[in-house]
């Protein structure tokens, strides 16, 4: 079967690629576009390590086909820091030591930013449920939750 030609926008830049019908957006990002920040942990939508934004919605890129993103806008973890300035979520994760191995971290960063973009004053419970699709096996989540709460305060302009 011929490959499908897809034109899309990745991290604000035009991008095009050829993909097999079965290839996922995660496969395309990692293997075709060399954007390896999004990780594969399960390929079944259970771990969230491949979280990206697709037209403003948080998705697992392993559950989206490459062919589906024709004409869409995709944002990956590689686009979250602006220039040499980290996003508050990234900065707070570092300050809290809210990562150990760091493998789930890109997905957590993308998912937490998505939450704070729509709600910059979430409760602990809201953060826990929002991030329930992002498995972290190292930290027990405690420091991740604390980091996201502090990042939310930063985004509200509150000093901490």
């Amino acid at each position: 079967m011929a490959k499908i030609h897809v034109t899309t926008t990745i991290n604000g830049d035009p991008a095009e690629f050829l993909c097999e019908p079965h290839e996922t957006l995660l496969d395309i990002l990692r293997d075709e576009l060399q954007l390896t920040g999004s990780k594969e942990g399960c390929a079944s939508g259970d771990c969230g390590a491949c979280s990206v934004m697709l037209d403003g919605r948080l998705v697992c890129s392993c559950l989206v086909l490459g062919a589906e993103v024709q004409g869409s806008e995709v944002e990956t973890v590689e686009n979250i820091a602006q220039g040499d300035k980290l996003h508050p979520v990234q900065q707070r994760i570092l300050e809290h030591g809210a990562l150990q191995c760091g493998y789930c971290t890109p997905g957590i960063v993308v998912a937490a930013k998505a939450l704070l973009d729509r709600n910059n004053d979430p409760s602990e419970t809201e953060i826990r449920y929002w991030l329930a699709g992002n498995l972290c096996r190292c930290t027990g989540y405690d420091k991740i939750i604390g980091a996201v709460m502090d990042a939310a305060a930063d985004m509200r302009g509150e000093a901490s």
Partner: protein, 756 residues
């Protein structure tokens, strides 16, 4: 040299880890993030049966498929005699490992590898796997450890004759070995008991659950050398095991340590790495292999299912007079469960005069068990600490008080041989009792449990270099894969010794050709052992700095001290020289300054932990909610407290998962039914409260900064802490893990019926 732990500038603070920015921006390169030009994709054919004889494997059609460049089967591997290869914390039998990497003769579990292919695309590799024709004779199988020990159980290995018995049996069985250790006279001890309890417990196999699947890229060159990129807990272990399995020289294999996405003991051996090298050799091209999540569950090394009996006798005033345990661990398809460590650790939080532990290492038709964070100890502690809780109830004694009466302390002889020096077992119990959590109130259907645990921690071989650059910055070169922030700890210790800012130190985890052998990242050994090597290497730098400065000042080196990052003369009026001053002149004063150290570290201080868990049990659904959780641990000196707390929190949560949700679920055909994160349910953020931590800092005298390993002990107490809390909430004693809502509800119903 030792340091004044009350006057440290950097150790004990919380700087940002050197590899942090790469890990929050997606730059960090893990196992699967690397590719090479012209690389092939390798895949593995796995057994669909729990136990079967391989009658034939026909690979001709797969080999004939366009795009297929290499196909290997077990017969292509070299034969290796039984030999234990030391990998640091554990020893691996390379004969068994070879058969686990590619089966020969029989497949021994669902998922057992028996062939591999490398092709130009993943799709062609999948097609090739489907074209391999394997004829099996399906054999009876056995999964459960107690079933596997029965005389009529299907036998996995015709050459397995139980070791450790007075007389070696003449018929083969699944019992690989029996071991026994003890103190005093158990029978005599029980005669003095006022209360004796005897209970049995069972746990299921659980997986480490690291989020990163195993991945490797290997490139074999025509000169017989191989380049290997992979994530592991020990790239030297990968190198040496691959060399043994493939008949290569260790020096011919260069392993680059990728960033590692979790391991918890599970990445201390090899699975696909030797296959990638072997197929790269056949194909003359690089081969990349990545496991799927299902492959990780079916064919790597979870910690085993166990069955345990515990008998403890106490006097009415709460003194343990005797303890007798039998631990039966299944090892999976090949011998080598962590039952030995369980025997050594289970009773060790207590000072006992009379104790005996018997262990059985048993094979069954499940994947070969691997190391998982304090291997064996959580299982043993689940049994012992559940019994201890029940005894405290029977004695009408506070469970912490009961443990404190019997707690190990300096001078206690442990069942596995040593007499403890400075340990924090009692300090931890006192800190637990004084924590506000322990005194807080509980509501209806709520309960509180506590449990203690012990882990040895290990030292082992580490070496490091500290390179001083001309501009006064420093690079630490070490060889311990950084799984949880150890680069930060190394940089902090080096900066502390050198008296320079933390930000001036970079840390590199070097490949196997760029630094000498280091034991793997396991046994909670890195901050301890590699920390000593880095500290020594930095002290070596300080001596050289003093020497160069003394020459510059025209005085003896004995008259120059290193203070606040500069060489200061104690005699005469020579101007002090900073590290940067001396480094700038290094080329003219004898060459670049490099400090080195190579050690085999002894005296890893053991760790003791006690956890408090509050649960609420829903009487209508059996759902168990963790309401509050506090971990208290003797951590020695915390170099970077955030990462020490993180170890405690992460270990506690893995233990909560083990207690409540996680299990390897085999069907009646012996096939794993839940090889994915949806059905193998690990804790998610919404399952949990914050995990409080109390760092009890009892310095380890064998480390310059007082470090004890901290990573493993946090997984030892949670299983029993959760179950003890469930008992407190419901009056029901759960003795088999995991306590799923279904099991809990059935137990509540049975309890109610019995009461009516």
């Amino acid at each position: 040299m030792t340091y004044d732990l009350d006057n440290l500038k950097i150790v004990g603070t919380r700087p940002i880890r050197p590899d942090g920015v790469d890990k929050v921006t997606g730059r960090a390169n893990f196992g699967a993030d690397f590719k090479m030009p012209g690389q092939l994709i390798g895949k593995v054919l796995r057994s669909p049966h729990a136990h079967a004889r391989i009658i034939s494997i026909d690979t001709s059609k797969a080999k004939a498929l366009t795009g297929v460049k290499a196909v290997i089967v077990g017969e292509d591997m070299i034969d290796i005699a039984h030999e234990l290869s030391q990998t640091g914390e554990t020893a691996i039998d390379v004969h068994d490992l070879s058969l686990n990497v590619l089966a020969r003769g029989k497949v021994l579990y669902d998922g057992h590898a028996l062939a591999a292919v490398a092709a130009t695309t993943a799709k062609i590799a999948d097609e090739a796997l489907a074209l391999i024709d394997v004829q099996y004779e399906v054999l009876p199988h056995v999964i459960d450890v107690d079933e596997a020990m029965k005389p009529d159980a299907p036998v996995l290995h015709d050459d397995m004759f139980t070791k450790g018995l007075d007389e070696t049996p003449t018929t083969p069985s699944n019992i690989a070995s029996r071991m026994e250790m003890g103190l005093g006279d158990v029978e005599e001890g029980f005669k003095h008991a006022d209360i004796i309890i005897e209970r049995s417990y069972k746990t299921k196999a659980v997986h480490q659950g690291y989020i990163e699947p195993h991945a490797v890229v290997a490139n074999f060159a025509e000169d017989g050398t191989a380049f290997v990129w992979c994530s592991s807990q020990g790239h030297f272990t990968v190198r040496d095991l691959c060399a043994k399995l493939l008949g290569m020289d260790s020096s011919a294999i260069r392993v680059i340590p990728a960033e590692i996405g979790g391991g918890f003991g599970g990445k201390t051996t090899v699975y696909i790495e030797p296959l990638a090298i072997a197929m790269s050799k056949l194909a003359g091209r690089p081969v990349k292999m990545t496991m799927t999540r299902a492959e990780v569950f079916r064919a790597t090394g979870p910690t085993p299912a166990t069955s345990m009996d515990v008998k403890i006798g106490v006097t009415n005033d709460g003194k343990i007079v005797a303890a007798d345990c039998e631990f039966r661990f299944h090892a999976g398809a090949f011998a080598g469960s962590p039952v030995g460590a369980a025997c050594m650790a289970g009773l060790t939080p207590y000072a006992l005069e009379n104790a005996r532990v018997v262990g059985y290492d048993v094979v069954s038709n499940t994947c070969k068990s691997g190391a998982y964070r304090a291997p064996g100890a959580p299982n043993g502690a689940f049994a012992v600490e559940s019994a201890m809780d029940e005894l405290a109830q029977m004695l009408k004694m506070d469970p912490i008080e009961f443990r404190h009466i019997n707690a190990a302390e300096e001078g206690t002889k442990a069942i596995y041989g040593p007499t403890f020096k400075q340990i924090g077992c009692k300090d931890v119990l006192v800190a637990t009792r004084e924590h506000p959590h322990y005194k807080s109130n509980l509501g209806p259907n709520q309960g509180r449990g506590i449990a203690s645990g012990f882990w040895f921690n290990v030292g082992g071989q580490s070496n490091a270099a500290v390179n001083v650059h001309e501009d006064g910055t420093v690079t630490v070169v070490e060889g311990s894969p950084d799984i949880g922030g150890t680069r930060a700890a190394m940089a902090m210790m080096a900066a502390e010794v050198l008296g320079i800012e933390y930000e001036r130190v970079q840390v590199v985890v070097a490949d196997t050709a760029s630094i000498a052998h280091n034991d793997g990242t396991g046994g909670s050994r890195v901050t301890f052992a590699t920390g000593i090597a880095v500290t020594n290497a930095a002290e070596d730098v300080v001596l050289q700095l003093r020497t160069r400065a003394a020459a510059d000042m025209g005085i003896d080196v004995e008259d120059v001290v290193w203070q606040d990052g500069s060489a200061q003369a104690t005699k005469g009026d020579a101007k002090s020289m900073s590290l940067a001053d001396i480094a700038a002149k290094a080329a003219r004063t004898g060459g670049i300054i490099v400090g080195r150290s190579s050690i085999n570290a002894r005296g890893a201080g053991p760790s003791f932990a006690t956890h408090i868990c509050d649960v609420e049990v829903d009487p209508e659904t059996g759902y168990i909610e963790i309401l509050r959780y506090t971990t208290v641990q003797d951590v020695g000196k915390a170099i970077h407290p955030s990462y020490v707390e993180g170890q405690m929190q992460g270990g506690a949560v893995q233990g909560i998962g083990w207690a409540l949700n996680e299990e390897y679920f085999y069907n009646e055909d012996g096939l794993l039914e839940n090889p994915g994160f949806l059905d193998y349910r690990m804790p998610v953020a919404s399952d949990l409260p914050m995990i409080d931590t109390v760092l009890v800092e009892v310095a380890n005298p064998n480390h310059p900064f007082g470090v004890r390993g901290v990573g493993e002990a946090p997984l030892v107490p949670p299983l029993a802490a959760v179950v003890n809390a469930i008992y407190d909430a419901t009056g029901v004693r759960m003795t088999e893990l995991p306590v799923t809502p279904i099991k809990m509800l059935a137990a509540l119903d049975a309890y109610k019926e019995a009461a009516e």
